[in-house]
């Protein structure tokens, strides 16, 4: 049974977790009340937009319920986090999420920071092969899954791949 909006009898299509203040506070609202909630003051403490606020605001403005459901199910091929999980926790799963969910994150980030492009310090070292680093994250997760499923031979193969990648990364 779908969750009801906390303010009325309609189905709750927006699930907002406020992270400001001590404990995360969960809100389940229909579209109308979500819009209302987000247009009141700027979050519970006033001031700069909170992540949850910005996130929900963007979704209220940009997404129909169906699109939202589809987006929520999308997951990162590297760490496995779904957009729904990110939306609920406010935390991303790995560096690759910034590439994988870039289209969704860009307006959100612009909303929070007022800018979408980094200025300032950069690493002195070359970043190396980013795809290789990302591949390492994916392989480690795959190895863990193989172990959990007791597929030890597969796990062993993956471990060899990881070692190969790690050693090529060190020499390069």
């Amino acid at each position: 049974m779908p969750l009801k909006c906390q303010m009325c009898d309609k189905a709750a299509t927006f699930h907002i977790t406020e992270l400001t203040g001590g404990k995360p506070q969960e809100l389940h609202l229909c579209e109308e009340h979500a819009r209302k909630y987000l247009t009141q003051a700027d979050g519970p403490e006033g001031g700069p937009p909170s992540l949850a606020g910005a996130l929900a605001q963007q979704l209220v403005v940009g997404q129909a319920a169906q699109d939202l459901a589809r987006l929520d199910q999308r997951s990162c091929p590297v760490c496995g986090i779904t957009f729904y999980e990110f939306r609920n926790s406010g935390r991303l799963g790995c560096p690759h999420d910034y590439a994988c969910f870039r289209k969704e994150l860009e307006p959100l980030i612009a909303n929070v920071h007022g800018e979408a492009e980094h200025k300032g310090k950069r690493p002195k070292r070359s970043q190396g092969d980013t795809s290789q680093q990302v591949e390492l994250i994916r392989l480690r997760r795959e190895m863990k899954e193989a172990i959990d499923e007791e597929q030890y031979e597969r796990a062993s193969d993956i471990r060899d791949q990881i070692r190969k990648l790690e050693s090529s990364g060190e020499s390069g």
Binding site: T20, G47, R91, Y98, V112, A116, H118, G120, K121
Partner: protein, 385 residues
């Protein structure tokens, strides 16, 4: 079998018993001894330190080849901790850091580090492989496996943001010599929470604003700060209540501005708030001198004579005494003593100093005894237990 290779638990850095007491290069970091001292940043020596307790900068950094903490399994977390612990050991020569394995600490010791501002509450309450490297003066701390893989913090006494940043920049470069940070265009340094992305830099100042609280102008100040995208928090950061009239003011935005711009954003608003606070103090002295003097003297008197006292009341009264000293209404105790009392009368500190666990009622008695000993009038009193 073969899978044991997944997470080699090497402990070859920091020889000796790794855990609560012994770390560093064979040198013990004794939390019990630490409890009797205080960090450099509490000395009250920096610029504007009558109102600015401390300046703090922190950087959020992540390793490029690991998932962020919320998707990291135990093996990943152990590997991240090992990688960064070894990195800390390598930069040890220049930065003189000692490593504490937070995962092996008991709850009281973790709380103790929170009270000293060396780890965050989130880091204390989290689970699994994690640690913190601390320098001798307690001005630098590197938290491993907090919300991000690495959180570097530099604290300085008074208003000293520029030097805090220079120190931070140097440590960040040293760390980066050994690891590859997650960084990409256009977002910059990548962080678990998009609110920290870009520079990963949080610049904050801890201000003591008793007169603005007393004259009920503090809300007005907060509202204007929030309008210019600055956040206001309590003594122990996010979600913590303002205790002892201490407020942390920090930048909310981390992306799209250079580090010096972010320093400037916080730095330029501080003189304005200092001016408000000093004006409010002057008004109190001019128009309400007797009441103010009475308030400050009573606060001092209670702290000198109470037999049992809560942490909350202590903070509240110490705040009045601190302002009283700054206004010349109290002359026989120094600011660094009071600064230290704010920290040493916290629950975990009292228990570490006393050396035994104490329940709330006994903590209140111990706190009162500690205050009497440190604020006693004249030499005779100072020697009392």
């Amino acid at each position: 079998m073969m899978l044991a290779g997944a997470a080699p638990q090497r402990r070859d850095f920091f020889p000796g018993k790794v855990g609560t007491k012994r770390m560093g290069r064979g040198e013990p970091l004794k939390l019990d001894e630490l409890a009797r001292t205080s960090g450099e940043w509490l000395r009250g020596s920096g610029p504007e330190s009558d109102i600015v307790m401390s300046s703090r900068v922190r950087l959020a950094r992540n390793l490029a080849n690991f998932p962020f903490i919320c998707r990291a399994n135990d093996t990943d977390r152990a590997e991240i901790e090992r990688t960064l612990r070894e990195c800390v050991a390598r930069i040890n020569e220049t930065a003189k850091l000692q490593y504490v394995d937070v995962n092996k600490l008991e709850g009281l010791d973790r709380q103790f580090l929170v009270e000293r501002h060396l780890i965050s509450r989130e880091h204390a309450e989290s689970v699994g492989a994690r640690g913190v490297a601390i320098d001798q003066g307690e001005q630098i701390s590197l938290m491993i496996n907090e919300e991000d893989h690495l959180r570097i913090q530099v604290l300085r006494s008074g208003l000293d943001l520029q030097r805090a940043w220079e120190e931070m920049d140097r440590i960040d470069d040293l760390v980066e010599d050994h690891v590859t940070y997650a960084f990409s265009d256009p977002f910059g340094y990548l962080t678990a929470c998009p609110t920290n992305v870009g520079t990963g830099l949080r610049v904050s100042v801890m201000l003591h604003l008793p007169a603005l609280v007393l004259t009920q102008q503090i809300e007005k100040v907060f509202r204007s700060l929030q309008k210019i995208n600055l956040a206001v928090r309590g003594l122990y950061g996010e979600g913590s209540q303002a205790m002892g009239d201490f407020y942390q003011i920090s930048n909310q935005i981390t992306l799209g501005h250079t580090e010096p711009e972010l320093l400037e954003q916080v730095g330029k608003v501080v003189p304005v708030i200092l001016d408000y606070e000093r004006k409010a103090r002057n008004v109190l002295v001019r128009e309400n001198h007797d009441n103010l003097h009475d308030r400050v003297s009573r606060a001092y008197g209670i702290l000198q004579t109470a037999q049992t006292i809560s942490s909350e009341e202590t903070m509240h009264l110490l705040s009045s005494v601190r302002m009283g000293i700054n206004l010349g209404l109290i002359n026989d105790v120094d600011i660094p003593v009071v600064n230290q009392l704010f920290v040493h009368t916290q629950p975990a500190h009292l228990q570490k100093i006393r050396g035994v666990p104490l329940d709330t009622a006994n903590r209140n008695i111990e706190r009162a005894r500690y205050l009497r000993r440190h604020l006693a009038k004249g030499k005779d009193g100072a020697d009392q237990n």
